[in-house]
Every structure is written in C-alpha cells, then in structure tokens.
C-alpha cells in the first residue's frame, strides 16, 4: 500500500506525464467557437479555395452503405426536408454535409484529410455540431451542467449516427441501453450483482428510466417526474404525497439517504444491515428545549421506552410503518 505522500507523488507524476505526452499536438488548431456555420465547415487547408457543398448524391456514389444506413435513422429527415426547422438551415439534400461540412475537396481528392470527420474530433466540437439542431430538445435542461458534459463525453459516444451494423441512433431496448451505459460505468453496473437491487439485469428496467443522460437539475442526473419531483416517484408514486406528516429527510436528502438504489447486500436496498441503525444514525440529537438553544442538525433520539435490548425495538419499521410519510400520525405509526 502506498502512503499518502507517495500517492500524491504518483498523481503529480501522472499529470506531468499527460502534459508531456500531449506536447506534440500543442501546435494543432485550437478549438473553434460554437458557430453553426463554422462547425459545419472545417477550415480548408487552402484558404484561397474553400470547399463547396456538393450534395448527398455525390457522397452516396462512394459511401452508399453509409447513406443507406442513414436512411433508416431519423437524420434522413434532413435529406428530405421533412422538418422545416432543418430545411431552414439549408441542409435539404445535403444531409451528409450538414455534419461533415462541404465536401467538394474531399470529392476531388478522396482524401480523408479533406473532410471533417466528427468521429475523430474532440468531444466538445462534436457536441457543437449536434447542438446546432438538437438544442436541448426533449431534455429538461441543457447538457451543459451534466457529468457527461463535464467529462467531455460526446454525443457520438452513445449515439450511432449512421446506424452502422444495425445499431440504432437511439436504442430503446433496455438490455442494449444497460450494455451501453455499463461499458463505461463499470462500478455502477457491478452494484447490480448484489441480491437486492432494481431489476436492470433482468431487463425490466434500464439506466435511463432513472437517469437522464442529457441533463437534470438534480444530482447524478436523476430524472424528474410530475414536473420537478425526483424520478423515483414515477414508479413509487404512493410515496409522493404530499403527506399530512412528512418525513423531512425524504424531501431534504432524497431516497438515497436510506437506500442504495443500484444494489445492496441489505434488504430493501438499505444502506445499513440493521434498520435501527439506518434510523438512529440521524435520530441521535437530544431534544433540547427552546430556551436552551437548538440542534444543529435534524433528528432527535427516540424516547427512552425504546429499549434496544428488546428485539421488538430493534426494527423501527415494525411500529413506524409509514416511514416515507404519514397521512394520520406524526410518528408514522399509521
């Protein structure tokens, strides 16, 4: 095992190594600003003779298979002009060039250096190309604030634009979605090997049932339901309330205060092996009268008749059956 200073030394050394190894590409062209026109038209190697648009027919002549695949994706709407918002951008019959930029030079030389290839671009640049049209459609907020955006995971990492090999642009098969996510999120997927978990390995659910990979204003890109409630309530809507007596932690910290939704070795996906410890770790403040001040955190210790030596009191939910919130009793007894 490394001690703390050795670990930091390794981190610093790795950082220096990464910097040094990337020096050869320091001289490359820096990132372009997010400009729709520029994003679609890469800087030509010879500025005096910029590339022109040649139309998809020219592209198809050599890339027929890709073109045929594209026809099976919604992106073919660009080609046909089925969506006026896209036609307005002038991409009708230029679907290939809407992402790859003008192709006259490439058509003349057949050199891959003469055409923009988003698959080989930096993720940020790929995203800008996509967001020219997909400006946050169908997502509650933009992807600017998500982990994927921060980690520079580009759109093409998950979406197969041409639909090669039968892959879908957007798959809805739950098994395929889980496979896609788990290829990077190995640790999260490993948690589903535990006995108590949501039914993802069985194909009953997929990662995107709970997470919005594009964006969410909630932490960990947790989806929202009913407007602005946590996505958990989409299925567990009986926990939504509003209750006469709310259990504050449910609103203030969310379900993960007590549950490990990816999987747990503890029943009900609880974060502790005994229910009483889940409760008592928070319910451990003395009930201080108002005249003596206040607790800095929420949650007071149960009254003294809760004798933990008796098995009856070792499992709080035997009596406190409505722990998610009660319509009737302030102590969640009914």
């Amino acid at each position: 095992m490394l001690n703390k200073s050795s670990r930091w030394a390794w981190v610093v050394a790795a950082g220096i190594g990464m910097l040094v190894s990337s020096i050869p590409i320091l001289g490359q062209q820096p990132a372009q600003p997010p400009d729709a026109a520029k994003a679609a038209s890469p800087t030509p190697p010879e500025p005096a003779k910029p590339a022109d648009y040649v139309g998809s027919d020219t592209c198809k002549a050599c890339h027929e298979e890709i073109f045929n695949n594209l026809q099976k994706t919604p992106h073919f709407d660009i080609e046909t002009g089925a969506r006026p918002s896209l036609t307005g951008k002038g991409w009708k019959q230029r679907s290939c060039e809407s992402c790859h930029g003008p192709g006259s030079k490439h058509a003349d030389s057949a050199s891959p250096d003469d055409i923009k290839n988003p698959a080989k671009e930096k993720p940020g640049e790929v995203d800008r190309t996509c967001l020219n049209c997909h400006l946050n459609q169908n997502t509650p907020v933009g992807r600017l604030a998500t982990g994927h955006a921060k980690d520079e995971v580009g759109c093409t990492t998950c979406h197969s634009i041409h639909g090669e090999g039968g892959a879908k642009l957007v798959t809805h098969n739950k098994g395929e979605i889980n496979a896609k996510c788990s290829s990077c999120h190995i640790s999260e997927w490993a948690a589903f090997n535990r006995p108590y978990k949501h039914r993802l390995p069985e194909g009953g659910m997929s990662c995107v049932d709970c997470h919005n990979p594009h964006a969410s204003f909630r932490f960990d890109t947790v989806r929202t339901s009913f407007g602005n409630e946590p996505g958990c309530l989409q299925c567990h809507s009986d926990k939504r309330g509003p209750f006469v007596y709310e259990h504050p932690v449910v609103r203030m910290e969310g379900c993960t205060a007590c549950h490990e939704p990816h999987g747990s070795a503890n029943p009900r996906m609880l974060i502790r092996h005994e229910v009483r410890l889940v409760c008592l770790e928070c319910h451990a403040n003395l009930p201080i009268p108002a005249s003596l001040g206040k607790n800095t955190t929420v949650g007071v210790v149960p009254p003294a008749f809760h004798n933990l030596n008796s098995p009856r009191y070792q499992n709080c939910t035997i009596c406190h059956v409505k722990t998610h919130g009660s319509y009737v009793d302030r102590n969640f007894l009914r």
Partner: protein, 676 residues
C-alpha cells in the same frame, strides 16, 4: 392474454415468402442482458432493405415483397425449475423467476408499404410470462406524427424473514412488513409534426400498484401483524409545444395528475401481537380490526424551458417549473380487544378513529445555465438552481374509546403540520484546453438552504429550523489520445459546518477517475476508481465514512476467430462507516459501525455455440453475503433463421448471520429463436 400475444407475434413469421437472407445474425437478447457490453448487445432490428432513392427524392422506396415489410426476431420457450432449496420466500424476494412457457423476447419492425397509417413501427417485448415484462412500440409517419408507447409490469415481492421481524436474531416469526404486489407503468407520447417550426405533443402516463401484504397495527403497549391490501394509481396528462426558431428553442408544457390510493388492514381472529406475557396483569390481544385509508389527490404543473445560442461565444439554458400537488385524506379505524392507553393510564376494549384532512405542497424549481467562451481555449460555465417547496397540512381527528370499565371516552384534535424547504445551488466551472488532448477544469460550488421542520414534541415548539451551507471546490481533468484512449478525473472537496442531517456530506473529499483504452478492435480495457471520504468531527457525531470502489474490465474478440469472445468485469468495493448514536434507553453515545468489503465479478466467454460464465458477489463485514449465478448456454443454429437456445443457470445466495434466508436453485430454459 400472454398466449394470444405470443401467437399474434409469431403468425407473421410463417405468413411470409420463403426465407431469404436478411441482415446479420443477431445475438440473443438474453445474451445482451447477461453481457453488459455494447459490442455484444443484440443488434436491434436488422438492416432494412436498401432504398434506391436519391438525394433528390424523398426516403426509401415503397417495399414490395413480404420480407420488406416485416423484419425482426422472436424468442419463446419454456423454463423448468427442478429444485428450489432453502428459503423460498427469499428466492421470490431476490429472483422470483417462475416455471412455465415464456416469450423471452420479440423485437420486430413493420414497414407500411403504402405509408398510409405509418412508415415504420418498431416493437419490442421482453420477458412475457416472467415477473418483469416490458413492451414498447415506436410508430412513425414521416412529416405527420411519432407515437411511442412504453409499458412495464414489475412484480414487487418482498418477504424476508430477517426484515421487520421482532425476533430478528432468531428468525422465528414472520417478516411484519412485506408485500406481494405489482407495479405497472404506461407511458404514451404523441409528437405531431406540423411541418412548421412548432411541434405540439401530448402525453399520458399511468402508474399503478396493487397487492397484498403484512403490516402492523400499533397500540401503546403492543403491535399486531395484520393482513393488508393496498392499491394506488396515478395518471399524468401533459401537453406542450416545442418551438425552434433560429437557434432558439422553447418548450412550454402544462401537465396535471390525478392520484388515488386505497389501503386497508384487517384482522378478524384473536391476535396476541408481539408482546408476550401480561401487562399490569392483563394480556393484550387484538380481536378485530378494520382500518381503511382513502386518499385522493391531484396536481398540476407548468414547465418552461429555453435554450439559445444568442452569440457565438455564449449559450444559455433556463427552465422554470411550478407544481402544486394536493391530497385529501379520509381515514377510519375500528378495533376491539384489550389495549392500554398510556395517556390516561387505562385499559380500553374498543377504539374508533375517524380522520379527514388535506395537504398542499406548492413546489417551484428554476435553473439557469450560461456558457461563455471568451477565449478559444477557455470556457466558463455558470449554473444556478433553486428548489423551493412548502407543505402545509391540517386534519381533524376524532377518537372514540370504550374503556374496560364501560365508560366511553371521546376526543377531537386538530392536527397541523408544515415543512418548508428552500435549497439553492450555484456553480462556476472554468475549462481550459491546455493542449488539444488535455483539458483541465476548476470550479466552485456553493450550496445553501434553509428548512423548517416539525420540532420534537418535548421542545414545546411547533417547528425547528435547519440550515445548509456548503462550499465545494471542484477540479477535473480530461485527457484523450484520439478515439482510443481517454482518462477522466474529477475531484471535489468541502469543509462545511452546517448541514441538514448528521450523516450529510460535511467535510468531504470525493474523487472519480475513469479510463478507457480501445487498444485494437479486438481488445478493450476500462478501469474505474471512485473514493468518498466524509467526516463530521462534532463531539457528539464523530462521523467517519469512507467508500472506495475499484473496477476493471477487459473485452476481447479475436480477429481471426469471429466465433469467440470474452468479457470480464471485476469490481472491489469497500465501505467503512463509523458514527456515534445515542442508545435511547440510556442516552449513552455508542458507535454505529458498518463495514462492507465486496467483490463483484461478471464474466462471460463464448466459443462457437457455447457461452458460459456468470456473475458473482461476495461480501464480508456487517452482513456477509454470497450471491452467484453461473450459467451455460448452448445456441445451435437449426436453419438459416432458426436457433435453438438452451440455458442452465444456478442461483445461490447465502448469508452468514441469517442462514435461514439461504437458497439455491437450478433453472433450465429451452427456447427457439426465429428471425428474418
């Protein structure tokens, strides 16, 4: 119903012209589930026939032959479970797969040659006949509409002897908090393509749960496990428009929900309850119980979203959501037996409670994100969010008791409660492209909020305040070499002193490093490391929490041998938690210690027709558990488009401290997979 669905799906397969070569052979969907790897995931509906349209003529030419309008696959078969040893209740709580005929998977695409009603319809069904079944339809007519329907039906069975059992160490009595229910969800969304810049849409969602279970009826000195029945359903209706004009996107949506929940608990036999013996010389049995909850609710919400690129160097996203859920409650309870009421120190033989009440919770959420790019290599992202809710509830409770002395007693109480929560977050991140391969990120996040929650009864107050103040420093690095290698690292740390709860993140460091290397088309490596250290040094808390997960993954498909591949994922996790809590009866501070050291393995190898491997989870610590599922699968192509798939799977779970929950089972499935 299931048989009919099965039949309807299979019919078209035999109604076609003689089989002709179609797209690439597809891996079984079951394999996709067992092999969490994109490269091995079952391809979706295989390639459609190539259309001969040119760029000038709109999309694919109409299909002419039978095989053009139908493509897909269906897998159906039977599962045997010859033995199911150990705790069947735990087996059902964890696995719950049953014996019988199954439609394992159906994935097919219909093309309408006339394009009269639709151009393309994709259908996917999985696990029909099993406790977790899903269906999805995605129907599109170009330039007219897109309709998506998603249905899910999940069995929710939970009956674990070690949970909510008053003899928890012995496992003698039954779990007193259990369910045997089903959760069904349906989501329908219709997008209407108006051929203009505006796209209206309407949607409907339905969520329902119903089933039976066991719950407890509680009195002051005893609690009684009783049968319960519950059903609830929520319907959500929503409609909105999406507008796209010259780089500006606006979504406006209006939605509403209806909610109804009916719960009941009943008992008609003498029930001694969990309290053994006599209290003040008297036994405390329950003789009859009828308890009913009738909850009705509704809500509406308004949502607005704006996204725009007003300048080349600036993009803005903002949203606003206002929701107002409301519930009306009616509760009745009638019980008889021998009970004790501490408040008046007397026994009573009958109790009757009636409650009516309602609760309102206006809830507002807003957020704004602005991305600026003042320099070519520099991006600055500013994010602000607020989330505010206010629950106000009141209820009238009427209680009637018949004391054992024969004296009736009645009381009425007006119950009120409030919960106010305001949370805010502001974050600034700066990204700098040090080189075209290396981006570094630094940022700062401030989280603040306040809450008023119900105060403990002994304090003499109605509400108590709570505050959140958390300053978080953020750093990150993204490094990549082409498309082959990338490393992402994120770290954040905070040193806050005001949090809502003792276990909240207070003085913490969080780090996450993820690397992926596609060495060649044959080899792919990935690794993942995450760490969370959280502490609260307050003398009466002394929280010390560490969670560490290390994972590695190898994927190998030899180039020369296309019929073999290997996938191995290994993950090691460690959770160490220490925190003081107060033992209620003595008020002495005692450490709550939780330890978990887990190893998780997911391995699958395929050689020609044979696939073998499985998953494994072993943990030691507070609840040592072993859970593994080895499998072997034989996939034999019988004809060009027919495969025979047989699988053996072994489920085994064992726990050191709760041996009465261990189970082992063998399962065999055999199925046919037809595709075209």
């Amino acid at each position: 119903m299931k048989t009919l669905a099965c039949f309807l799906i299979v019919i078209p397969l035999w109604a076609q012209d003689p089989v002709v070569p179609a797209g690439p052979p597809q891996a079984p969907a079951a394999a996709a589930q067992a092999q969490p790897n994109p490269a091995q995931a079952a391809p979706a509906a295989s390639a459609q026939p190539a259309a001969s349209s040119s760029a000038q003529t709109p999309p694919p030419a109409p299909a002419k032959t039978g095989e053009d309008w139908f493509q897909g696959s269906v897998q159906f078969g039977y599962r045997w479970i010859p033995n199911n040893d150990g705790s069947f209740a735990t087996y059902r709580s964890v696995v719950n797969l049953g014996e019988g005929p199954k439609l394992f998977d159906a994935d097919f695409t219909l093309l309408d040659p006339s394009k009269r009603f639709f151009n393309r319809a994709d259908f996917h069904l999985s696990s029909w006949g099993d406790p977790y079944n899903t269906a999805r339809a995605d129907i599109t007519k170009d330039s007219a509409y897109r309709l998506t329907i998603d249905y899910r039906n999940i069995a929710y069975f939970n009956f674990l002897p070690s949970y909510a059992d008053p003899t928890i160490n012995q496992g003698l009595l039954l779990d007193q908090n259990s369910f045997d229910s089903r959760i069904r969800t349906l989501d329908v969304l219709l997008d209407i393509n108006t051929k203009k810049w505006i796209t209206p849409y309407i949607g409907f969602s339905h969520n329902a749960q119903d089933g039976r279970g066991i719950t407890d009826f509680h009195t002051d000195e005893n609690e009684y496990p009783v049968a319960s029945i519950a059903s609830d359903q929520t319907n959500t209706y929503r409609a909105g428009v999406r507008m796209d004009v010259r780089g500006y996107h606006l979504t406006l949506e209006q939605g509403g929900t209806t909610f109804k929940e009916d719960q009941g608990a009943s008992d008609s036999q003498v029930n001694p309850g969990n309290f053994v013996g006599t209290f003040l010389g008297s036994a405390l049995p329950l003789k009859s119980l009828s308890e009913l909850y009738r909850v009705r609710g509704h809500s509406y919400y308004t949502k607005g979203l704006l996204a725009a690129n007003p300048f080349k160097w600036m993009s803005v996203t903002g949203q606003f959501i206002y929701a107002k859920p409301h519930t009306d409650i009616n509760y009745t309870q009638a019980s008889s037996g021998t009970f004790y009421l501490q408040q008046i120190l007397q026994f009573y033989s009958m109790g009757q409670d009636v409650l009516t009440g309602d609760a309102n919770m206006p809830h507002v959420t807003g957020s704004v994100t602005v991305e600026l790019q003042p320099l070519r290599r520099l991006r600055i992202v500013e994010y602000w969010m607020t989330d505010r809710l206010h629950n106000a509830a009141n209820a009238l409770l009427a209680e009637n008791l018949l004391l054992t002395s024969g004296t009736p007693l009645s009381d009425q109480q007006l119950l009120t409660d409030r919960l106010v929560l305001n949370e805010n977050r502001e974050e600034v991140d700066a990204y700098y492209e040090l080189t075209s391969a290396l981006t570094v990120r630094g940022g700062y996040r401030y989280e603040w909020g306040d809450a008023d929650v119900r105060a403990p009864a002994l304090t003499g107050q109605k509400l108590e305040p709570a505050n959140l103040r958390r300053s978080v420093g953020i750093a990150g690095v993204n490094y990549r070499i082409g498309q082959k290698f990338r490393v992402t690292g994120n770290a954040e740390g905070s040193n806050s002193d005001q949090t809502f709860f003792r276990t909240s993140l207070q003085q913490y460091e969080k780090a996450h490093i993820r690397a992926r290397y596609d060495w060649s088309p044959q080899w792919r490596f990935a690794a993942d490391f995450s760490l969370l250290n959280n502490s609260n040094p307050s003398p009466n808390v002394k929280l010390d929490y560490t969670s560490k997960v290390e994972s590695a993954s190898v994927y190998f498909t030899p180039k020369a041998v296309k019929w073999a591949n290997l996938l191995v994922d290994y993950s090691r996790s460690a959770i160490h938690s220490n925190i003081l809590y107060l033992v209620p009866q003595t008020l002495t501070a005692t450490p709550s210690i939780y330890r978990e050291n887990g190893h998780s393995l997911n391995a699958l190898a395929s050689v020609k027709w044979l696939t073998f491997g499985g998953t494994l989870f072993i943990s030691s610590g507070s609840r040592p558990t072993t859970y593994y599922q080895p499998l072997a699968r034989l996939t034999v192509p019988l004809y060009k488009h027919v495969q025979w798939i047989s699988e053996w799977r072994w489920y085994s779970m064992s726990e050191v401290f709760y041996v009465y929950e261990n189970f082992q089972t063998n399962q065999f499935t055999t199925s046919l997979r037809l595709s075209r």
